[in-house]
């Protein structure tokens, strides 16, 4: 292990754009350019998914990095960008499921909603807090179902792929989750 510090120096140079450095000796599933392009396209949406499913921004930060790392270490031959993205979301979903179940500050933080920058849309801060609390009362799988369907516009087969469910069961599960969320919102 005499040259243990060498990769650190090489990576630091790569991080700062030194094209002369050669650090491509670690086998990952994608090359740097492809990964960075894929990450830039997907990381924001994945962070939103993780934060809303886990109910914790800190957990979302941690699991985001872990999700991409596991994707890079995977040996799955991806047929398309969509296939890769679904696989990434599946990893993220499993990580949320396996993560320690603790308090979910995001769903209980109605007060802080007023401090958040307001996005364009018809729902005011109080309404957003209600939505968040109602969302927090759902089971993680119900949150994932609804988020994938309505925030991402995923098809039933894509949702089934991400959540490891039968495609035929998605319609009914979505129906139940919708009614549960609507009932909580109207309460």
């Amino acid at each position: 292990m005499a040259d243990a510090t060498f990769p650190l120096e090489v990576d630091a140079r790569r991080l700062h754009g030194d094209a002369g450095a050669d650090a491509s000796d670690v086998a990952l599933a994608m090359d740097e350019d492809a990964f960075r392009a894929f990450y830039d396209r997907t990381s924001g949406a994945l962070w939103g998914y993780l934060s809303r499913i886990s109910g914790d921004r800190q957990v979302a930060d941690d699991l985001l990095q872990e999700s991409y790392y596991r994707l890079l270490k995977s040996v799955v031959p991806f047929e398309s960008e969509g296939h890769r993205r679904n696989y990434l979301y599946r990893i993220a979903t499993n990580l949320v499921r396996d993560s320690k179940r603790g308090p979910r500050p995001l769903f209980d933080a109605g007060v802080e909603m007023a401090d958040m920058p307001a996005p364009e849309g018809p729902v005011d801060a109080e309404g957003r807090a209600d939505v968040r609390r109602a969302f927090g009362r759902l089971k993680p799988r119900e949150r994932a179902l609804l988020w994938l369907a309505y925030a991402h516009g995923s098809s039933h087969s894509e949702i089934a792929d991400v959540l490891g469910l039968e495609t035929g069961s998605i319609k009914l599960l979505l129906f139940r989750a919708r009614r549960k969320l609507a009932a909580t919102l109207q309460r």
């Binding site: 292990m1 243990a4 990769p7 650190l8 990576d11 790569r14 991080l15 650090a23 670690v26 086998a27 990952l28 740097e32 990964f35 960075r36 990450y39 830039d40 990381s43 924001g44 949406a45 994945l46 962070w47 939103g48 934060s51 809303r52 921004r57 930060d61 985001l64 990095q65 991409y68 790392y69 890079l72 270490k73 958040m116 920058p117 996005p119 364009e120 849309g121 018809p122 729902v123 309404g127 957003r128 939505v131 968040r132 109602a134 969302f135 609804l146 988020w147 309505y150 925030a151 129906f175 919708r178 009614r179 969320l181 609507a182 919102l185 109207q186």
Partner: protein
Amino acid sequence: MRPGNRPHETEPTDAEIEAIVAEAIAAEAALARVEAAPPSSAIVWWRAQMRARQEAAVAAERPITIVHALAIAAGAGLMLSVLGYAVAGVNLAAAYQSLASGAALASVDLTSRWVTLPITAMLVSAAVATVAAYFIYADE
């Protein structure tokens, strides 16, 4: 109308429920887009590289750890055998002294643990040391 038998008109339709849910989640998704501040792709890539290297280094060190454990076991076995041999030597010396005083050499019990234990330990340590030496010098 019986209590609890509400008019059908007050129940939202599936389409209305879907509209309520879609609007709520769209608003939450818009907020999530504003909140999202993932680290840059360069940092994530760098961390992944570092972690992959660390894991590769740990995996590479694993056989060396096994060889070290074998070498330690061989050393311990060798020490045990030397100790046992020394004890057996003392016993033999005592037996020769007995011969001088007229006792038979057959009085030395070859099945005694003081004889079998060091011999077994020597054989085992020799075998382990051979394997350890093979692993150590195979790479070289």
